[in-house]
Amino acid sequence: MTNRTVILTRELTRRFGDTLAVDHLSLQVYSGEVFGFLGHNGAGKTTTVRLLNGVLEPTEGAAEVLDLSPQSDGPALRRRTGVLTETPSLDERLTGRDNLSIYADLYGVPEESVSKRVAKYLDLFELTERADDKVGEYSRGMKQRLALARALLHEPEIIFLDEPTSGLDPVTTRQVHRMIHQMSEEGRTVFLCTHNLIEAQSLCDRVAVLEKGRLIALGTPADLARKMVHGQRLRLEVAPESRDAAVSTLQSGFGADKISQENDGLILQGADREIIPDLIAGLVAAGVRIYEVTPQEPSLEDVYFALHGRREVPA
């Protein structure tokens, strides 16, 4: 990641009738970073991607992407960006190879290298064997890989991924995550729209959280966790016969509202690692047999729920 700004929005706004899809959005994305764009369905993520690629015009505000205006330099900009749309958007009556070679022409891949480039990306996404089958016969995971190959075919500087792992099996999801890591290592900027918080936590350098088109948080996952969720939590695993004694000891020391159960463990909210020695001493004195005490950092999921006031559970 460098300090070069590749995406800059100033009060970017888009209305559809009375609905504010994107509400005065101001942010910067730096070259080479994996930038997470989080929000519920309908939060304005896809509309923002459309605005940043010059496919949709803003109602107010402005954006600059790769020092170009999406509004006035749309074709030149789109030559340098790649977009994986939420649905694969592939021509199912065509073969995988045809899908790629047609888009190679559309994106201006040098004519002499089209067939090599297509073969390279088919190979990279493990689609070579089925390259000459019609896409309608592909599995969902294969279609998603082909769509990703198409988005990367012209080797864009910024890649926008709109829910790239939605509905995929774990194996394909892992392949997609590997690709995102690889793109980042190659110095490309990845703009990742997702409502998968675990994915965002593991992949993103920084995240922006959007609610009803409005930016409500921006920073690294760790920064946001520190700002938004106060105190760590501890996870304790104790012998089953000691569980009642452990719960009553913890409740008397920290209050009943701080204790919860999670699978086989007990969770103590709002406690940091400094109290662990005293905690263990107290529990041992109460005759509790302790197997494990683990401090847990607040996750992006905790941040997200804190931001949304636990009003809704994200899908």
Binding site: N53, V55, T81, T85, E92, L106, G108, E111
Partner: protein, 272 residues
């Protein structure tokens, strides 16, 4: 204009059409009927007039009800030759126009509304093509095959018509000036009319079938021409055909002007 991108869109749309039997079949069957089966029937004409009880004076009185210009064109031929010329040169002339109209309409409906239905339009809108290039490419992807089929069909029709009528006519009698005008002046305009109508209709509907059903109404003027010519209400003279072409080109210009207005990325993407 980015020619490479335009030809890529055309290639894509044509491959997509060729990949659908449901769309391809009518594009084959209708031209075969109009360009081969109907003119081939001319070979049956001598047999028809020799059927016992057939009254040649009926044919004479039928031709007598035709416009004077047409009667002048038929003067000097015997009754069987008159039937052949009447059918192959005049009655089937407006029917020929159905082919470019239908081919352009079907492909345009698949290209514009079908692309929305298949959810493939969004990826296309993210490519570095301009709105004008995309529109131009999509128009050509419907217009070029329509003209290919119309021109190829015309050649086929000419061969079948002359072969089928040879025993009666004894010479190459087809095409005449009116047909040449029909092919090079009116058919391209009619193809434009079909696809222009589909561009407008497709912007308001969500799928191929809906577009094709609504846009199908554009065939009504052609049917009126067929009936008008068959009943003798009008006569497809070279002058009338030239005028007809002019009117259709003018309508095309208006429809395509509206089509360009409608075909804007920002409008299309919100309707996906």
């Amino acid at each position: 204009m980015n020619r490479r991108a335009i030809s890529a869109v055309i290639r894509k749309d044509l491959k997509v059409v060729l990949g659908s039997k449901g769309i391809l079949m009518p594009l084959i069957i209708v031209p075969v009927v109009i360009f081969v089966a109907l003119p081939a029937l001319a070979s049956l004409a001598p047999g028809v007039v020799n059927i016992p009880g057939a009254n040649l004076s009926d044919i004479g009185s039928f031709i007598a009800r035709m416009p004077a210009g047409l009667q002048a064109q038929l003067a000097g031929y015997d009754e069987v030759q008159q039937i052949i010329i009447l059918m192959l040169v005049y009655v089937l002339a407006p029917m020929y126009l159905i082919v470019p109209l239908m081919v352009a309409s079907v492909i345009a409906a698949d290209s514009f509304a079908g692309e929305k239905e298949r959810k493939t339009l969004e990826a296309l809108l993210y490519t570095p093509t301009s709105d004008q290039e995309l529109f131009f490419a999509k128009v050509l992807s419907a217009w070029l095959p329509a003209m290919g089929v119309a021109l190829g069909g015309f050649v086929l029709y000419a061969i079948v018509a002359n072969l089928a009528a040879w025993p009666v006519m004894g010479r190459i009698f087809f095409p005449n000036l009116m047909w040449i005008l029909l092919v090079i002046w009116v058919a391209p305009a009619v193809a434009g009319l079909g696809l222009g109508t589909m561009v407008l209709v497709s912007s308001r509907v969500s799928g191929f079938q809906e577009a094709y059903q609504l846009g199908g109404a554009i065939v009504i003027p052609i049917v009126v021409l067929v009936i008008g010519q068959a009943t003798g209400v009008m006569y497809f003279s070279a002058g009338l055909v030239a005028l007809l072409g002019l009117v259709i080109w003018a309508v095309d210009a208006v429809i395509l002007w509206f089509g360009i207005k409608v075909f804007q990325r920002g409008e299309l993407i919100v309707r996906i």
